[in-house]
């Protein structure tokens, strides 16, 4: 049992981070505004969680300009995809 729980990734404990990872798993990329609308969050709240996931190298961001407006786009990294998949498997195993 202890072993199964160990597979749960602490980085994905919060519901917000689960949401961010879920969005990026099924979309090639998503910009800040899109994620914000989907998760119904405030700027600051979302930014801190994105930063944390970025710090673990699970997601990466690229900044660009659309016209004059800055636009931050997020994509999942290979490491992020693998880690999230392992987390999903661990969740599924736990409820089985």
């Amino acid at each position: 049992m202890a072993n199964i729980i160990a597979n749960l990734n602490k980085a994905f404990e919060s519901r917000i981070r689960l949401g961010i990872m879920s969005v990026l798993m099924v979309n090639e990329s998503a910009d800040f505004g899109t994620i914000k609308d989907l998760l119904e969050l405030t700027d600051g709240n979302l930014a801190s969680h994105l930063k944390a996931l970025e710090g673990s190298d699970y997601i990466e961001c690229s900044k660009q300009f659309i016209g004059r407006k800055p636009n931050t786009k997020y994509t999942i990294t290979a490491l992020g995809r693998q880690s999230f998949q392992e987390h999903l498997n661990a969740l599924a195993n736990l409820i089985r």
Partner: protein
Amino acid sequence: MEKQLEDLKAIREMMEKSSKFLSLSGLSGVMAGITAILGAAYAYFFILGEHIAVAKILLILDAIIVLFISISFGIYFSWKKARKSNQKLFNKVTLRILYNLSIPLFVGGILSGIFISRGEMEIVASITLIFYGLALVNASKYTIDEIHYLGITEIILGLAAAIFLYNGIIFWTIGFGVCHIIYGLIMYKKYDLK
């Protein structure tokens, strides 16, 4: 245990919500179907007796009016559903769907126009059904599964309409009328009544 189950549910919901257009209302389908049947009935009883030159223009007008009314109802019901579930109607996914729908639809529309201008009206029912079906299949990966099967159904009806060339209006009425109503009701029951 409870938390893990909730987590998994939330993950699945967010994956669907972020990659699929779920505000499509079954009622849009039902209204589109009714409009199509009325349009086809008008064409059958009032237009087909006219001289070919007049009939051509009236048929195109008839089709445009049917299309306009169907799309208006579609947007209206989807907008209502999106508002009810607190979502935006126009987002990245909506644009992706519209783009995927539009390519086959434009090609089918232009091809129909070419045949109509040559006076070969018989084949138009088949072309509109086939390209509409292809458009639905193409866009269905971004929305609910029923759209995929509706698309396949339209394609089969379109091919049948090409075989029974002079009964095009019957297949057209089944495809755009009856099928929309049936699939619309199925979707309404499955997704909207929840």
